[in-house]
Each structure stands twice: as structure tokens, then as C-alpha cells.
Amino acid sequence: MTSAEGTESGLSAEGGTATAGALTLGAAVRQPRRPTIWTTIRRQRLALTGALIVTFFAVVAVVGPMFAPHGPTEQFPQHRLESPSRAYPFGTDEFGRDILSRLLYGARISFEVGAIAVGIAGSLGILLGMIAGYRRGWLDNVLSLLMDIVYAFPAILLAIAIITMLGNSLANVMIAIAIVYTPTFMRVVRGATLSVRNMAFVEAAVSLGASTPRILVRHIFPNITAPLIVHASLNFAFAVLAEASLAFLGLGNKPPAPSWGSMVSSSYGFLQLAPWAAIFPGVAIALTVLGFNLLGDGLRDALDPRLRS
């Protein structure tokens, strides 16, 4: 992926040229102080925007329900499909439910699914990836083949198949998304582990008699976190998108629950009468995904310039 390029171009010109200058002149003239993560992020306006969007929605996910004017399933039958007004800032849906309130409650679902799915996929991917990359040999071959097989399914389709078989519930949606995205984590971790495992400090740890788990946890893992953090952020975007798509298809939360994806699909039938009922939740999804994408791209630049390929 070359998203780093995309982010870079959106920067102020000074940010871009400063980096280029450091690359060509730095070695000959004076080694410039390595910028910290935070200075780099601040320099990158798009990444900062991403971080702000993510923070905003994360805060909404935590405290949003406290500020919701109405309950997520509270119905006002005399106010069906009303356009945005002072009483209902984002309008109401076909049952007369306040869309703003539903959005505020729905943020929690998106973040819960994202965090848990990325958490499971990340843990599994780290474990399998480090083992495969460090041990090599047949174990690596078997694990890589397994991941290739999972990878051979279009993501959304495999998730659908898993949910159909396990049963339609939000927990199974999380499991399905986690399974689908585990191979990508494993690939990232395996690749990073491969590039670290032959370094002198690992050799030193081995010759000092450190056990394999200790080497993996204390020596390899701290050195592969950069690509992992980037991947986790981008994957959060995928997970939010996947949850919304599955909810749109009716998989995951059951109807009255305010999942953003199912809000879009249930108001689709009233699109002509009440476009806001579909547009507001749709925009919420797109903004959250955009935030994580921007943040992931920015972190990629900040944490490891070598990742720009």
C-alpha cells in the first residue's frame, strides 16, 4: 500500500520539503534530531484530522448516550419521518424515533465491534505471526497455508458464511470479522518478525540462553509494534465498515438496536420521503472510517518511513 504518498501530498509544502531535505542533506551536513511521533503527527494535518475525528467518535461512543435527547428505541408515532427540526436535530425515522439519539447510541456498537474484532484478530495474528516468522520451517508453511486459505475468500462473503453458520448475533459478527482479518495481521507480524529475527540483539539473547517465549515477548515484540499499530488503525476502519455492511444486510444486531448500518438499510425504503434518515447514519459511518484511515496513514508516516513502499 502506498497510502503514505497520498497523505504526504496533502501536507503543507514545508512539511514535505523538510523531510526530503533531511534525507539528502542530513547525512552529509548534520544528523538532524529524529522527530518524535507527536511532532510528526502534528506536522501532518490530515493525520491530525484523522486523530480528531476518531477521538470525537470515541468520546461519543462512551458518553454519547448521556447526551441523547431521547431513548434509542423511544417512538413518537405522531412525528414519523419528520425532517430535521429543533426538537429532532437529525429528523425522525419511520417509527418516529429520534435519529440523533439513535446515532449517539449506535456509535458504541461500531466501536465495540471494531475494538473487539481488531483485538481478537490482532492477538491471534501476533501470536501466529511471531511463531511463524521466528520458528520458520514446517510450522511457518502450515500457518501460512492456513492463512492463505482464509485469504482466498472475499472478506465480506466469508464473514456472511461464518455468521450464517454460527447464528445471527452481534457476538458472532465480531468473531466473523476477527477471523476474516486475522490473516492480514499475521502477514504483517510475520514479515516484521522475519526482518528482526536475524539481528544481533536476538542472537545475543539466544546465546545468553533466553527461552523462546522470552525472546518473542521481550526482544522481538517491542521491535515490531510500529507496523502493528498502523495495521490496527487501518483494520479498525475495515472492521467498522464490515460491521456496517453486515448490519445493512441484516446480520448482527436485531432491528430495534441502533446499529448505523441497519439504520441506513431500514430507512432505504423511505429514501424519497425522508432522505435524512439514511444520510445521517451513512455519514457517521463514512466519517468514522475516514478518521481511522487518515490516522493509520499518518501513523505509518510517523512511526516508520520505511513502510512507504
Binding site: 475468500f153 472475499p154 472478506a155 453458520m165 445493512f248 444486510l249 451513512g282
Partner: protein, 316 residues
């Protein structure tokens, strides 16, 4: 070259076998077994009768035996029957695949040609407003879910402007004009992620080649800018573009489930959606197997194309 192709095809075998085992395993993971699902809550069957049905389907045999039997049918093109309509899945796929393929081809065309053009322009005019515009378009493209884009397109072009139907389908062979009118919005919705990712990758691939020495040499020789761009830059930049494009076109297949459902197109995406709604497990199994196989075959085709274009890869 022939050895490369053969080796690549040989690598396909374990993956395809694995895919088939997963698909076979998925239906076994359903709580209860296929027969009880087929019969449902019908109380008329005695346990002995259920056992007889189970035996007649070979479900009393060990799993590996069942798998081999199932695979031998699949290889002969027999994917079983729908629990609901009792029609064979292969027959149904024959009717529905052309719709999905047309949709994917249209989305592929819409997604690649403008995206590659825009990516090249963005790279050549780096840091211009065109470049920034392309970057922003890319970010929106990867962040807007395809069902939202579909919703907005229907709202604008079907309800407000009334140019195109919001739903419906006409056969390409019977009414090509109406067919295109019903296909254009789904194809555009489906092509969005492909276009966004392809544009981003084209831009960076072209930028990378532009900075290389051979391009400077070509310019120094006094070649016109257009020749440098087509002969020296695009030719070299095309390899990563094709790889990414290939992967994304394969990914389109997954998106058809949502898009065909929204627009009521009778393709395999909607087929699987309906099968899920009706808990029609053999159909889910069959369609997942077919789409995944297509997905794997496309990625292998891309790999081979890659090697045709870049001789260095053949000897790895």
C-alpha cells in the same frame, strides 16, 4: 515461462483444497445437522424415518468419506439442490452468473479507466490542485461504504433527477438499453473502492518511476514528454497497477452481495443473500465455493500476467 505457470498452478491445489474443506466444514458447524434443518420442526417424521433420510444422504458415514463424496459431485459440476426451491444450484448459477459477471465487468471498466487516468495526471501534476483533488477523492472513496454510495446515487439519479430506475433488471440479450440503465448505478457503486485504491496506487507508482534515472536519461535525450510518459514511465508503472487492480477486481465479487440486493439484480450476490435469509445452507455453501474459486483463479491470473510483464519474476 511455462514452468512458472505450472508452478503457480500447482500452488493453487492446496489452497483450493483448503477452501473446499472450509466450505464443507462450515455446513457441518451448523448446530444440528442438515437433515433436521431440512425437515425443520415437522413433527410427522419418526426418529427412524429421520435416520433413514440421514442414511440416504450418506450422513451416517465418517466425515472424510462424506467430504470425498461431496467433492466428487462438485468436480462434476453438481453442487446439490436448494432446500427451498429444490432446483439444482448449478442450474441456478448458470442463470445468475452472467448478471454478476456483467456487473463486475462494468464496475471494472468504470473503476479502472478513469482512476488510472486520474492517478497519472495527479502524479505528473504533483502538488497541483488536481493532485489534492485526487487525494481527497481517494480518501472519500475508501471511506464511503458502497451501500451508502448506492443509497446516495439512487436518491440523486432515481428520485430527484428521475433519470435512472432505482431498482429492476432487464436482460442484456432482450433489452440492452434498459439493461444498461439498470446496471449503471450498481456498477458505479461497486466500482468506488476499486477506483479509489487504484488511483492512489497509480499515482505513487508513476511518481516512483518518474524519479528514476532512466526517465531522466530519456528526457535528456530530448524525447518529447508524451513519449517519455507512455514508453518509459507508464510501461514500468503498469506492473504494480495491474497487481492492485487485479486484487481489487477480485474483491468486487464480495461487494456484489450488497449491491445486487439493493438494486434487485438477479445475480449470484442476491442469490446468496436470499439463501441466508431462508437458511438455505446448500446454496450458501455452493455459492461461497464458486465465488471463492473465482477469487483465487483471478489472483493466480494476475500473478501470471505479472510474470508475463516482468521477466525478472519468472525465475524466482
Amino acid at each position: 515461462m511455462a514452468t512458472f505457470v505450472l508452478r503457480r498452478l500447482a500452488l493453487l491445489i492446496p489452497v483450493l483444497l483448503g477452501v473446499s474443506i472450509v466450505v464443507f466444514g462450515l455446513i457441518r458447524a451448523v448446530p444440528g445437522d442438515p437433515v433436521s434443518i431440512m425437515i425443520g420442526v415437522d413433527q410427522r417424521y419418526t426418529p427412524e424415518q429421520i435416520e433413514a433420510i440421514r442414511r440416504s444422504y450418506g450422513l451416517d458415514q465418517p466425515l472424510p468419506v462424506q467430504y470425498v463424496k461431496w467433492m466428487s459431485h462438485v468436480v462434476q459440476g453438481d453442487l446439490g439442490r436448494s432446500l427451498r426451491t429444490r432446483r439444482t444450484i448449478t442450474e441456478e448459477l448458470g442463470l445468475r452468473l452472467p448478471v454478476t459477471i456483467e456487473l463486475a465487468v462494468l464496475a471494472g471498466l468504470i473503476g479502472t479507466i478513469p482512476a488510472v487516468t486520474a492517478g497519472v495526471i495527479a502524479a505528473v501534476k504533483r502538488n497541483s490542485w488536481l493532485d489534492y483533488g485526487a487525494t481527497i477523492a481517494t480518501l472519500i472513496g475508501v471511506s464511503v461504504p458502497n451501500f451508502l454510495l448506492a443509497t446516495l446515487l439512487v436518491l440523486i439519479f432515481s428520485y430527484w433527477l428521475r433519470w435512472l430506475p432505482p431498482i429492476g433488471f432487464a436482460k442484456l440479450t432482450e433489452d440492452p438499453v434498459q439493461n444498461l440503465r439498470t446496471m449503471i448505478l450498481p456498477a458505479v457503486s461497486l466500482s468506488m473502492p476499486l477506483a479509489a485504491i487504484l488511483m492512489r496506487n497509480t499515482r505513487s507508482a508513476v511518481l516512483e518511476v518518474l524519479s528514476q534515472d532512466h526517465v531522466r536519461v530519456a528526457r535528456a535525450k530530448g524525447l518529447p514528454a508524451s513519449t517519455v510518459l507512455t514508453r518509459h514511465v507508464l510501461k514500468n508503472a503498469s506492473i504494480p497497477i495491474i497487481t492492485v487492480g487485479g486484487i481489487q477486481i477480485a474483491t468486487l465479487l464480495g461487494g456484489t452481495v450488497i449491491i445486487e440486493t439493493i438494486f434487485g439484480l438477479p445475480g449470484i450476490g442476491r442469490y446468496i443473500y436470499e439463501a441466508i435469509a431462508n437458511r438455505d445452507y446448500p446454496v450458501v455453501q455452493g455459492v461461497v465455493l464458486v465465488i471463492s474459486t473465482m477469487f483465487v483463479l483471478i489472483s493466480v491470473a494476475v500473478d501470471i500476467l505479472y510474470a508475463v510483464m516482468d521477466p525478472r519474476l519468472r525465475h524466482r
